[in-house]
C-alpha cells in the first residue's frame, strides 16, 4: 500500500478537481432544491434557481445555512432522501434545542469512512497496523468514523471507546497497537498514565496518533509525541458535514488537507458574509457535494481559519486549512463538548427569577480542561441556611451535567463581584492559550 488511500483524487490536478467539483455541485444543488423544501425556500427568497449554478464560481450565489437553520428544521427539515433510504443517524453532544441530528444513507457512510481511511493512510496506516479507537462510540461521530476508516484500510481495529485508561494501556501493550485515535486531551492522559504505570514509549508499539474533536496546540502535540513516542496528526470534521475526516493532516504537519472531492471550502467575512480570497483569515464554510441524505450547502461552521493552496511536500494537491484559530460565535469547546453560554443561562433561569450574573472560566491544567461557573447569588436565590445554598449549588451542577454531559465546578459569589466591562459582564474567561 502506498502513501495515499486514493492517489488519483488526493493528487488530482487543480483543473481536474475543479471540473469534478463543478459537476458534483450542479447535481447536488438540483438534488437539494428538489428534495429539501427548507433550502428551496431560502433559494427562492434569494432569487436563485439551480440553473444559476453552473460551477463552483457560482457558489457565492447560494444562501448560507447556520446552526439556527438546523435547529429550526430539526429533525427532518433538511433531509434530502426518504427515511427508508437512510441507515444511520449521528448527533452532536449538544442539548435540547441545540442538538444536531445528521442522517446517512449507506452511500454517505461509505464516503465518510473513505475520508477517514485517507486520514489513517496519511498518518502511515496500512492493513498491517493495529488501530486502537478510543473516541466515544455511539451518537458521537468520532468512534464510528475512525472505526469505519480503520476497517476500510484493513487495520486490525480495537473499538475501545473512551475511558478505563489502564485497560486501554493493557490492550495497547498486549495487542501491540500501532495507531491511536482519540481526542488530544485523552491521548495526553493515556501518555501520562502510561508513565505513571512505570512504562515509557519503548514499552508500546504505537507509531502514530490521529487526534481531533477539540482544539489543541503545537506544544500539546510535542508533549503527546514525546509521552507516547509517536507522530501526532490532526483531524477535523463536524457532525453537520458527516464527522471526522472532512480534513486531515499529512506528514508535513502544517495544516489539514480538505477532501475537496466531497466538500467545497470557502472562507467568508463572518460579519458581511462576503467570500474572502485565498490566504485570508475568516469563517470556514462547507458545501457537501456528494452527501445524499443530509447535504448541507454553504454551512457556516463558525470556525475561524485560513485556507492555502501552497504546494505540499506530501504530494497531495488538496487544499489545506489551518487548525481553527477561534470561533465567530460564542461557542466554547470544553472537554470536547460544544458549550454555548445560553445553555448555562437556561439552567440558571431555573433557580432564579432573572438570569443572575455569571462567568464561565475555562483553563487547561495538565492537558485537561477545567470548567468553572461563577454565579452571583441574587437575593431570591439566597436563604439563611448552609444546606439550602449547598443544595442550590448541587442543583445547578446537576442541571449543567444533564444538559452538557460534562461537569462544572459551581461557585456562588457575592452580587456585583463579577467584573463588568462597560457595564456588561464578561461572560467567558478562557485561559487556555490554544492558538
Amino acid at each position: 500500500m502506498g502513501r495515499y488511500w486514493n492517489e488519483s483524487i488526493e493528487c488530482m490536478s487543480r483543473e481536474e478537481m475543479k471540473k469534478l467539483q463543478d459537476e458534483r455541485l450542479v447535481a447536488q444543488v438540483k438534488h437539494v432544491y428538489e428534495n429539501v423544501a427548507y433550502y428551496k425556500k431560502l433559494m427562492d427568497e434569494k432569487g436563485v434557481t439551480p440553473d444559476d449554478i453552473k460551477g463552483t464560481e457560482d457558489l457565492h450565489k447560494l444562501p448560507f445555512l447556520t446552526k439556527a437553520d438546523l435547529r429550526e428544521a430539526y429533525p427532518y427539515g433538511l433531509l434530502a432522501k426518504p427515511l427508508s433510504d437512510c441507515v444511520r443517524i449521528q448527533s452532536t453532544s449538544g442539548t435540547t434545542g441545540k442538538r444536531v441530528v445528521a442522517f446517512y444513507t449507506q452511500h454517505d457512510i461509505d464516503l465518510w469512512e473513505d475520508c477517514c481511511a485517507r486520514a489513517i493512510v496519511a498518518a502511515g496506516g496500512t492493513k498491517d497496523d493495529v488501530c486502537q479507537v478510543c473516541y466515544g462510540y455511539g451518537l458521537f461521530t468520532g468512534g464510528p468514523g475512525l472505526n469505519g476508516g480503520s476497517h476500510k484500510v484493513g487495520c486490525l481495529t480495537l473499538p475501545m471507546s473512551s475511558g478505563n485508561t489502564e485497560r486501554q494501556i493493557q490492550f495497547m501493550r498486549d495487542l501491540e497497537s500501532t495507531i491511536l485515535c482519540c481526542t488530544p486531551s485523552y491521548a495526553a492522559y493515556i501518555g501520562e498514565t502510561l508513565h505513571e504505570m512505570g512504562y515509557g514509549p519503548d514499552d508500546i508499539k504505537l507509531k502514530a496518533g490521529i487526534f481531533g474533536a477539540e482544539p489543541w496546540t503545537e506544544e500539546m502535540r510535542h508533549e503527546i509525541e514525546k509521552l507516547l513516542g509517536i507522530k501526532a496528526y490532526d483531524i477535523y470534521g463536524l457532525t453537520e458535514t458527516s464527522g471526522p475526516g472532512v480534513s486531515f493532516e499529512c506528514s508535513e504537519q502544517t495544516g489539514m488537507h480538505i477532501n475537496e472531492d466531497h466538500f467545497i471550502a470557502e472562507i467568508i467575512d463572518p460579519d458581511t458574509g462576503e467570500v474572502l480570497p485565498e490566504g485570508s483569515k475568516g469563517e470556514l464554510v462547507f458545501t457537501s457535494i456528494t452527501k445524499e441524505a443530509f447535504p448541507l450547502l454553504r454551512y457556516r461552521t463558525r470556525d475561524i481559519c485560513i485556507l492555502s493552496r501552497e504546494k505540499c511536500s506530501c504530494g497531495r494537491t488538496l487544499i489545506k486549512m489551518t487548525k481553527p484559530m477561534g470561533r465567530s460565535d460564542d461557542m466554547l469547546i470544553i472537554k470536547g463538548v460544544n458549550v454555548f453560554p445560553s445553555q448555562i443561562e437556561s439552567v440558571l433561569l431555573k433557580v432564579s427569577k432573572a438570569t443572575p450574573n455569571y462567568q464561565i472560566i475555562v483553563d487547561r491544567v495538565n492537558n485537561a480542561d477545567t470548567f468553572e461557573i461563577r454565579v452571583e447569588l441574587s437575593e431570591d436565590m439566597f436563604s439563611d441556611t448552609i444546606k439550602s445554598i449547598e443544595d442550590l449549588e448541587k442543583k445547578i451542577s446537576e442541571d449543567i451535567h444533564n444538559i452538557l454531559g460534562i461537569k462544572a465546578k459551581i461557585r456562588l459569589v457575592e452580587p456585583k463581584s463579577i467584573p463588568r466591562s462597560e457595564g456588561k459582564a464578561v461572560r467567558v474567561i478562557d485561559k487556555r492559550k490554544l492558538v
Partner: protein
C-alpha cells in the same frame, strides 16, 4: 415573640468580613450578637442588630445578598447545665434546633442569652414559656 436576624452571604475572600462590619460601623449600627457559618467557598454571617431595618437597607444598598429570619432569643441560667436544661426542654417538646449561638452574658444577673433557629417557632415559644423560660423581644433586645 421573635427577634429579627440578618443573614449576609459572604464569600471566602480576604477582606470581606472587614468590609461588611466596617460598613455597619460607619452607619452607626451596633451588632448585638453574631455568628458565622462557613464552608470551603462561602459563609453566612448572621447578625442581630440594634436596628435591623436600617442595617438591611444599608447592606442591600451596598450590594449584599441579605435575608431576614425570625429567630428566638431566650434567657438561660449562666451556670453548668443551664444550656443542657434548655435543650432538654426543646427536645422533649419535639422542637428541632437548626442552629444556635450565644448572644450575651449578664454576669450580674447570672444569666446568658441564646439565639436559636428552630423548625417551629410557635411550638418552641409555647414549650419554652410553659417551662418557665423567658424570651426576649425586639424592643427588649435593644436595652440589653
Amino acid at each position: 415573640m421573635t427577634v429579627k436576624q440578618l443573614s449576609v452571604f459572604v464569600e471566602n475572600r480576604a477582606g470581606r468580613l472587614s468590609a461588611v462590619t466596617r460598613l455597619l460601623g460607619d452607619n452607626n449600627l451596633s451588632i448585638k450578637a453574631m455568628s458565622i457559618a462557613d464552608t470551603k467557598d462561602f459563609g453566612i454571617l448572621r447578625l442581630i442588630m440594634n436596628d435591623s431595618e436600617k442595617a438591611l437597607d444599608v447592606l442591600k444598598e451596598n450590594g449584599c445578598s441579605v435575608t431576614i429570619t425570625n429567630v428566638l432569643a431566650i434567657k438561660i441560667q449562666n451556670k453548668p447545665g443551664g444550656l443542657a436544661d434548655a435543650m432538654e426542654v426543646l427536645y422533649k417538646g419535639n422542637v428541632s434546633v437548626e442552629y444556635m449561638y450565644a448572644a450575651f452574658i449578664k454576669e450580674d444577673e447570672g444569666t446568658a442569652f441564646l439565639i436559636l433557629r428552630v423548625d417551629n417557632n410557635d411550638l418552641a415559644v409555647k414549650t419554652l414559656t410553659e417551662n418557665g423560660y423567658s424570651l426576649v423581644g425586639q424592643e427588649e433586645l435593644l436595652n440589653i
